[in-house]
Amino acid sequence: MRHVTLSANGVRHELEVEPRELLVYVLRDRLELTGTNVGCDTSSCGSCTVLVNGEAVKSCTMLGVQADGMEITTIEGLATNGHLHPVQQAFHDHHALQCGYCTPGMVLAAVSLIDSGEAVDEAAIREGLEGNLCRCTGYHNIVKAVAAAAGVS
């Protein structure tokens, strides 16, 4: 077991984890932040996307021990004081989720994309979401939502 200190949604945690525990399972099982979902086993689907030091990362492709000293934002950490983050609100307004399973990862990937300044038009948004797969929506409304949140048409 290794000692890991990490901050999740602004809350500091001291944990003992096995080196082989993936960050996604540390978040889900140890910190009971079950909003981050596992959808595949080849880093293909992006459902597990969280922000690590502000950048989108697939938490299934990171060991918990690699996150020592880092700040993690999960979907649970996006809303503030009960108010949805603008990206969450845009997803709601534009019906950008159906079953909701890919949604936490998709929202955080979108947050990271917008923060990077790269969400400049539809093509860039679609390219920027290449690592996040959805089976329900066909992406049409997701792209609309991200464009709205980014302030582009």
Partner: protein
């Protein structure tokens, strides 16, 4: 009975979803998020071989491993099963239905067939221990190809059956052979529709808890909690009333979670044995073996036509892969399309034959569209082939053959209640700018551009809203197709709706509230919709086959009418007027001619609860239930077009535009309808361009993960253009279904577009999916 006269505030508007509040915040209750004290974790050992005798299973090392609670082979658990995993649709009297138990005992029949199970205190310990289980296999001959499996000498999946032929099912009407003999033109084409892996983003999972008196609680990522409860009693010998199945939030299904799976039965059996809750979640690569697949069917389709393009006969012969075993609906999937091999066209002579074939592969079963995409694909591809033969425009050929008057009884015997295929096509053409596309195409061809464009059409109908129970009985389906709703007006005016449908992304919590809100004259926010837990929703037939609105929604409608009728009686009694003297609008009963004398429906609900002054003999409370059995299937239809750009040097093909015009009857929530169309067409587009579950000859799965089975991302797709025309269905709400229309229509539109892009080179066919290599090879073949 008096009819409701409500203004209709919510139906037809894009009310935002109630489901989002929890899902957007990451508070979804997906099975993997649920935990009970003392839970242990299950891991399966699966046959790596497509066909093998199981000679021995050595559990010693696994049982001794750290954290392991128990381990069992298939042989250890035979006493736990009262019956085999059910197949609900023995489509013919002489269908071969081999037994299918949760773990294989003597013989593994497909790669992924479960042979042993280990239970440990953590997921990791179970996975580590599973590797320590030693199974001695003797490999046997195996076959994956659906046609080769029927050949003499092919390895048999079930030896004792003496054949891989599972069934032959036919539907004949008129005289197809005479029509073919008399025809000016006969076009016959062969199509292979590859295996598709449904790939809902949430893998399957279960959590089973069994109490000391065999009371079972099973949480499962399922589309069918009611069906599952019913089936588990057959498999486990536990009476249905002691079984509670809960579908919590479910992350997509598309038919793959419409089933009764080995792991569901295993988790309950093991929880019963161990006295501890048992949990299991698929890994994705495990899902590719252990969860049902779609399609895998070879068709030969024939049209007979006059030289003017009037189609006089359709003949379809299909060989349909069952896989190694019959899961819940496996043999019936092709049949779900059996009555629409004439599509939206008027074709007087009709013959369809399906041969179900066992192969050493993962069982097939329902995948979005279930039988109807397969039918539509072969029809719409052959329409283009016929148009080429006749030298006719493919759009005009379709229009010429459309059914023009409704209701229309097809040669296949079923009656389409309403539709307007011409209006859909007209609207499509308005949106498409076909002239512009043809001009662009001509210019590129003249210049000899590397990148060519093409446009392809798909005009379709489909039959959904499963299903009239009498017809299900007549075609040998084991149970019925009704659905149920209970509406409970609480004393202080809020409304609880309990539905028998089981949404997993389809937004029923929102749309059912819209329907009931309009019928009762209350607000959408006053209504809570409950579903998915058999302890709460006692009656239902769950969600699949685009049935929930047409059947479940109608149950809501009828339950609402009963609520309003009872409330009317209460109000009439208390206002001392005749029931007919009351008008009901906007949630309020008022006396005709004296509108100041009124009572709101919520007030009537309180009166029902207080019971101080109710008509003689009336029971207190304002709660009504209705179970609705549809009289007919539901008949959406429409016209779609795809525009593709093909790089003729590399074969790389991109979808540039996709335009969908659909008739789904009275729209309840336009934004949600559009979302269903977007998602549905995307799966059809993906089948046309990206997805193919491939096996080698022997049945080893080659596309084992999401890196080789290609589910497209947003980067691969354009935004869509959607519109609707509306013909009301023959039910009081006028609603049809929409969940599968996109997937039914889209694949042939895309393939037709690719063929169109390359038609000037002489290309007439491309195998799905149209990979760059297939496209390039098709170009090379006509070049030489």
């Amino acid at each position: 009975m008096t009819t409701t006269e409500t203004a209709g505030n919510f139906v037809g508007t894009s009310v935002k979803r109630k489901e989002d509040a929890s899902l957007l915040r990451g508070s979804g209750t997906f099975v993997e998020n649920l935990n009970l004290p003392g839970t242990v974790f299950m891991a399966l050992v699966r046959s790596p071989y497509p066909h093998a005798r199981i000679k021995s299973v050595n559990l010693d090392a696994a049982k001794a491993a750290e954290g392991v609670v128990a381990a069992f082979s298939g042989a250890d658990l035979t006493e736990d099963w009262k019956g085999s995993l059910p197949c609900a649709w023995p489509v013919t009297e002489d269908i071969k239905m081999p037994p299918h138990y949760p773990l294989a005992v003597d013989e593994a029949r497909y790669q992924g067939d479960g042979v042993a199970v280990v239970i440990a205190g953590s997921r990791a310990a179970a996975k580590d221990a599973a590797e320590l289980i030693e199974v001695e296999y003797e490999q046997l001959g195996s076959i994956a190809d659906v046609e080769k499996a029927l050949a003499d000498g092919a390895p048999l999946v079930h030896d004792d059956l003496g054949t891989n032929e599972c069934y032959v099912w036919k539907l004949d009407s008129g005289d197809v052979q005479a029509a073919i003999d008399a025809a000016d033109v006969v076009v016959t084409r062969r199509y292979f529709q590859p295996r598709l892996i449904p790939n809902a983003i949430e893998p399957r999972g279960v959590l089973a808890q069994v109490g000391p008196t065999d009371d079972v609680t099973l949480w499962s990522a399922t589309q069918v909690p009611h069906v599952l409860r019913f089936a588990l009693q057959l498999v486990l010998g536990i009476t249905e009333s002691k079984i509670r199945v809960i579908a919590p939030d479910v992350g997509g299904g598309f038919g793959s979670k419409l089933n009764v799976y080995a792991e569901e039965a295993l988790a309950v059996a093991l929880a019963r044995r161990l006295g501890r809750p048992v949990k299991w979640t698929e890994e994705r690569s495990e899902n590719y073996q252990a969860t049902i697949h779609g399609r895998d069917v070879v068709h030969e389709l024939t049209f007979a036509a006059t030289k003017d393009g009037a189609i006089t006969a359709v003949k379809s012969e299909a060989k349909c892969a069952m896989g190694a075993y019959l899961q819940l609906v496996t043999p019936g999937i092709p049949l779900l399309g059996a009555w629409i091999y004439s599509g939206p066209y008027e074709i007087p002579n009709y013959s369809v034959t399906f041969t179900g074939v066992f192969t050493h592969t993962t069982p097939t079963d329902a995948y979005r569209g279930a039988g109807r995409p397969e039918a539509t694909y072969v029809l719409e591809r052959t329409m283009d082939a016929l148009a080429r033969e006749l030298g006719m425009d493919p759009v005009e050929l379709r229009r010429k053959n459309f059914v023009k008057e409704f209701p229309h009884t097809m040669a296949s015997g079923l009656t389409i209640d309403s539709g307007d295929y011409e209006a859909s096509l007209d609207r499509l053409l308005e949106l498409l700018d076909l002239d512009g596309i043809r001009a662009d195409q001509a210019e590129r061809r003249a210049r000899g551009d590397a990148k060519q464009i093409g446009v392809g059409f798909s005009t379709y109908n489909e039959m959904c809203g499963l299903a009239p129970s009498r017809i299900l009985g007549a075609i040998r389906y084991a149970v019925g197709g009704w659905d149920s709703a209970t509406i409970r007006f609480q004393p202080l005016g809020s409304v609880q709706v309990v539905t028998g449908t089981s949404p997993h992304g389809q937004s029923h919590e929102t749309t059912w509230a819209q329907i009931v809100a309009d019928e009762l004259g209350v607000g959408v926010d006053d209504i809570e919709v409950l579903h998915g837990d058999t302890a709460v929703s006692q009656l239902g037939m769950d969600t699949y086959g685009s049935r929930s609105l047409a059947v479940g929604g109608m149950a809501l409608y009828h339950a609402s009418q009963k609520i309003v009728a009872k409330a009317r009686r209460i109000v009439a009694h208390q206002l001392e007027v005749a029931e007919d003297d009351l008008e009901f609008a906007d949630g309020s009963f008022s006396v005709k001619g004296s509108p100041d004398r009124s009572m709101g429906i919520a007030a009537a609900a309180f009166q029902a609860h207080a019971a101080h002054n109710l008509p003689d003999g009336m029971e207190p409370g304002l709660e009504e239930a209705a179970t609705y059995d549809p009289a007919n299937f539901s008949w959406p239809g429409g016209a779609h077009a795809a525009v593709v750009e093909v790089d003729t040097e590399t074969g790389d093909t991109r979808l540039v535009r996709y335009v969908a015009v659909d008739d789904v009857g009275n729209p309840v929530n336009p934004q949600i309808i559009d979302g269903q169309v977007h998602g549905g067409v995307t799966q059809g587009i993906a089948a046309a361009l990206y997805e193919e579950g491939t096996y080698d000859e022997e049945g080893n799965l080659l596309t084992t993960t999401m890196t080789t089975y290609l589910v497209p991302s947003a980067a691969e797709l354009p935004s869509y253009e959607t519109d609707r025309i509306e013909t009301r269905a023959d039910n009081p709400l006028g609603v049809k279904g929409v969940g599968e229309t996109g997937t039914i229509a889209a694949a042939p539109a895309v393939i037709n577009a690719i063929v169109d892009a390359l038609s000037h080179l002489g290309v007439t066919d491309i195998q799905m999916p149209a990979t760059p290599e297939r496209v390039w090879t098709a170009i090379e073949e006509v070049r030489t």
